[in-house]
């Protein structure tokens, strides 16, 4: 049997619905239709009244989830594309994220964001939103890179007493496969060394983990061993695992698919520079997408985002400093 990243997300939701009567799913076309990407296929039929079609009202969808969470439910809200969640930002950032702090009452809800670029998707169906959500206090932001994490982290997200933004990468939906669903899980807030190496640390997350691993393989031929750290959850950030890796390698490249101004890769570099300065043998470096809207044409798109080739080039710069 083979399980895709998308199957894992669907299966995790099925398990959550089956095991917890307070879980429900709300989103555009998620009901009988099964969702734009089929992440909720057959769930409405199996769980009547608990997989609910919403109007095209991202603000009200999130606001509704905040109210339901206050009332003891555990809503999962599916945004059709991460990009459209900007319409619901107010409810997520100012309402969901402040509820626990202001009232002492938890606000357990999951906002699922089909994220990231795919060829031909263009400026409004390609965005990675983790930087914006991470900037605000009160929200957990997960960015799973593997089939296993997509499954176990989504289940953990549903059980968490806080609002969780679950950034699932669309490029991984169909292509990333595993033999079976995992039976054990790395804790959600722990980053993981997915490839060990002694010469340089490459910290990244989501689809960029696979590009980084490909770059690391490319550099083997040149005699370099690259350690790849998958953040898994970008907020809270597992600084300990990052610093431990930099302590081994003395060099750092932080990679993100999102834009270069601020964000997760900037936070990684800032923390290593301020808390691990003496560990470094070279200036820490960042690699992100270009600072323009995300292009439509594959030729432009491929040059806009970090790829294995660009990551390998950036790693060489850090290694040869």
């Amino acid at each position: 049997m083979s399980v895709t990243y998308l199957d894992a997300i669907r299966s995790a939701q099925e398990k959550a619905l089956a095991s917890d009567p307070t879980v429900f799913i709300y989103g555009q076309d998620v009901g009988k239709f099964g969702g734009a990407f089929k992440a909720t296929k057959n769930l409405a039929q199996r769980f009547p009244g608990r997989v609910i079609d919403s109007p095209i009202s991202e603000d009200a969808m999130v606001g509704m989830a905040v109210g339901a969470a206050m009332e003891g439910m555990r809503p999962i809200v599916e945004m059709q594309f991460a990009d459209f969640s900007t319409v619901g930002l107010n409810q997520m950032l100012n309402h969901a994220a402040t509820t626990y702090w202001r009232t002492g009452r938890p606000c357990p809800m999951v906002l699922r964001l089909p994220s990231g670029g795919t060829p031909g998707s263009g400026p409004f169906h390609s965005q990675s939103m983790e930087a914006i959500y991470s900037h605000y206090p009160g929200i957990v932001v997960m960015t799973p890179a593997t089939v296993e994490d997509a499954y176990t982290m989504l289940l953990e997200a549903v059980e968490m007493p806080d609002p969780v933004v679950f950034c699932e990468h669309k490029l991984l939906y169909y292509h990333l496969k595993s033999d079976h669903l995992p039976t054990s899980a790395v804790p959600a807030f722990r980053a993981q060394v997915v490839r060990a190496g002694r010469d340089v640390t490459c910290v990244t997350y989501s689809a960029m983990v696979h590009e980084a691993v490909a770059a690391a393989k490319e550099l083997v031929e040149e005699g370099y061993e690259v350690e790849v750290v998958d953040l898994r959850t970008v907020k809270p950030l597992d600084t300990d695992t990052i610093l431990a890796s930099v302590a081994r390698t003395g060099r750092l490249l932080a990679v993100g698919e999102s834009w270069p101004w601020g964000g997760a890769s900037a936070e990684v570099v800032a923390r290593v520079a301020s808390e691990g300065f003496e560990l470094l043998d070279a200036p820490p470096k960042r690699l992100n997408a270009k600072d323009t809207p995300i292009p439509y044409h594959p030729n432009l798109w491929a040059a806009h985002r970090p790829t294995a080739v660009r990551i390998a080039a950036a790693l060489r710069e850090v290694l040869r400093y």
């Binding site: 109007p55 439910m73 107010n90 309402h95 957990v140 300990d240």
Partner: protein, 342 residues
């Protein structure tokens, strides 16, 4: 679909002072005197931040609180002291929020009108207008999924809030789900300083009910009897399964947007019109006309004593201590964040 209830004012004002009117009258007097005191405390420099009063809106707001039952959910906005008191929020909690008492429901983490107590069924508003409509809809959806029947949610908005996308999205969602939700719009003619004609182009906000597929009701917000009749009717219809209800009350705020604002932009013609009547004075003079003047004066004396006692009590309560604060915005992430040391 709009049910016009303008005639209700004339009819109801001739009826006797029933139990609901007693509850409303007391809430109105308590709100007025408490807010007078808040204004004094503000001018005396005892309140940090703004003070936002509901002067002139006590009848409409209070009637919402009166129409609800225990177990219902109330999501007030900034001019709903009367509604809060009528629904059961203790006077002390209002003062705790304004004076920053650690013993209040917000513990000094949030203040003034951004207070609520989920254990009492009062949602703490955020400042972004219209946001509470969908949130209250979510509470009601959850209650329906849990099988809790017969509960109503009531939220308040102003004429300005009706221009937001949140208001539209929330009311539309509630209509689609046919939720037992009452949205009360206090149309006081001005959103801060912006008059109605710069806010919306329809003849009357209640006309929008038809577009949403919900029932709409108009009421003279300066007439306490009409407010109780219309609000009770709307709450009963929502409870009876008739879906969301939009109530639009016309009135005037008899103060600035906040106590920092003199409100000089309000047209004096409106101030002199029926819309500019003070609902508290309307109730007082009507009760005196009916021979209930003594009752009114006793409510007033009781409320005055309650305000004084509450101020003394809350003034002596501890304020928040930054060294005792745990500074964690998430429940689950606090340990992991600490290890991240920022």
């Amino acid at each position: 679909m709009a049910i016009r209830a303008a005639a209700a004012a004339v009819r109801s004002i001739q009826e006797g002072t029933d139990a609901r009117m007693v509850r409303l009258g007391r809430a109105m007097v308590r709100a007025r005197l408490l807010e007078d005191k808040l204004g004094s405390l503000y001018r005396a420099g005892r309140i940090v931040g703004g003070v936002y009063l509901g002067r002139g809106q006590e009848a409409l707001s209070g009637a919402g609180g009166v129409a609800l039952r225990k177990g219902d959910i109330f999501a007030p906005l900034i001019r709903d002291m009367a509604g809060r008191l009528a629904f059961g929020e203790p006077m002390e909690d209002a003062l705790r929020a304004y004076l920053g008492s650690r013993l209040g429901p917000m513990k000094g983490r949030d203040g003034n009108i951004h207070r609520g107590d989920l254990s009492r069924g009062i949602l703490p508003m955020i400042s972004h207008l219209g946001a509470m409509v969908s949130t209250l809809a979510g509470v009601l959806m959850a209650k329906r999924m849990k099988g809790e029947k017969g509960k109503v949610g009531l939220t308040c908005a102003g004429d300005g809030a009706t221009s937001t996308g949140s208001f539209h999205e929330g009311l539309n969602l509630a209509a689609v789900e046919r939720l037992p939700l009452v949205v009360v719009v206090a149309d006081n003619g001005y959103a801060y300083s912006t008059p109605n004609e710069r806010q919306f182009a329809c003849a009357d906000l209640v006309d929008r009910a038809r577009g949403y597929g919900v029932q709409g009701h108009s009421v003279d917000g300066t007439d306490p009897w009409a407010c109780v009749e219309v609000l009770q009717g709307a709450v009963d219809r929502a409870r009876g399964g008739e879906g969301p209800q939009l109530v639009v009350g016309k009135l005037l705020r008899l103060c600035g947007h906040g106590e920092h604002d003199d409100g000089l932009y309000v047209d004096s013609k409106i101030q002199r019109s029926e819309r500019g009547r003070d609902c508290v004075q309307v109730m007082e003079s009507e009760m005196k006309k009916r021979g209930s003047g003594k009752e009114w004066e006793s409510w007033r004396a009781e409320a005055q004593a309650e305000v004084e006692a509450a101020v003394i009590k809350v003034s002596a309560e501890p304020v928040p201590d930054p060294f005792e604060e745990d500074w964690s915005a998430t429940k689950s992430g606090s340990e992991a964040e600490e290890s991240g040391s920022s």
